[in-house]
Amino acid sequence: MESKPARDGAAEMTDETDADLLVYLAMADTDLDCARMAWETFYRRHVDYLYAVCLRAYGTILGGEAGAADLVAETFKRAYEHAGTFDAAGVTDAQQQLLRTRGWLGRIAQRLAMDVLRGRGGLKAHSLDADQWQQIAAEPPTLPAARDDERIAMVRRAIESLNAKEQTVIRVTFQWYRPGDANQRLPNDVCEDLATALGTTSENLRQIRRRALKKIEVFLRANAPHLAGRSKAP
């Protein structure tokens, strides 16, 4: 956006729904002042939330607070540039729209983060293509929550017991894990990029992952056998 001073009217928009704010943003070509006010309201409404969830999910693998801030900034830029792709899906309740908007921002952030992890040259150089925006527009079904505090805490302890390289491999490769899918696949370019970044080969990377998973399994069997799950089928 240009640095032309906007009307001091962002406060006028605080009651607008996210869908309306995004419409104003999408119309920036015809009413830039209105878009500026909408942007300020939209940004302030979501930035604390988005930063917190990005730091929590990607802080470790994207370089801590600075990496999370980069991701948030780029996510907001993409949201501004593609405001017209947001689909409220007929939801009119402001609170539901807010949650839906946060899911949309989360999908943008997730896409960007995964592409950074694929080594596509960093956030600044990357742009999402049309089919990715189509996927981002549609909200995926929510899987039944199977979160169990004791199990989660124990698995996190198991991951933290790994060495730094093993933790990185697990944290990055599990970004591509699809719950409930029997045919898990890690894209080749992810495998190769991560191997290069770690100064090893793709084959060694697979070995590191296998070793790390085995260590986690052993840790869980030793510390919480009831949580370790079944052994692999013969």
């Binding site: 302030r44 930035v47 990496g67 990185t168 894990y177 696949r185 890690l186 998973l213 949580l227």
Partner: protein, 117 residues
């Protein structure tokens, strides 16, 4: 593109599911966003200065890249130190690290030139 070698068919699915469940994910649905909002309610984080101003993100200086903070590899460091002392043979992984370091330095130099022509 995927590779059959990347199919973790020999992995314990229960362990993999548990790891996935234990990892933090960015909420991508309204329901997940609602849950995350609740869990964050009591844990307010200070916003970095660079994110405080709504317009500032459009004028942020370009970073060279967002990188995964990889730890130093002791074997590689030791080999480099020994090679420096004895002018000995460098292992393949050392050559690879040197190549990556050189690439990162060149990229940084190019970025600096673009930002400060």
């Amino acid at each position: 593109m995927t590779d059959h070698r990347n199919r973790p068919s020999d992995e314990n699915p229960a362990i993999c599911e548990a790891i996935h469940a234990a990892m933090e994910h960015v909420p991508v649905t309204a329901d997940q966003a609602k849950q995350a909002g609740k869990s964050l309610a009591d844990h307010a984080l200070p916003l970095p200065a660079e994110l405080k101003e709504p317009k500032a993100i459009f004028n942020r200086p370009a970073r060279t890249a967002t990188v995964i903070p990889f730890p130093s590899v002791p074997e590689v460091d030791a080999t480099l130190a020994r090679a420096a002392r004895e002018a000995g043979h460098l292992k393949q992984e050392v050559h690879e690290q040197m190549r990556r370091d050189r690439h990162a330095a060149e990229e940084e130099q190019r970025t600096n030139k673009r930002e400060n022509p």
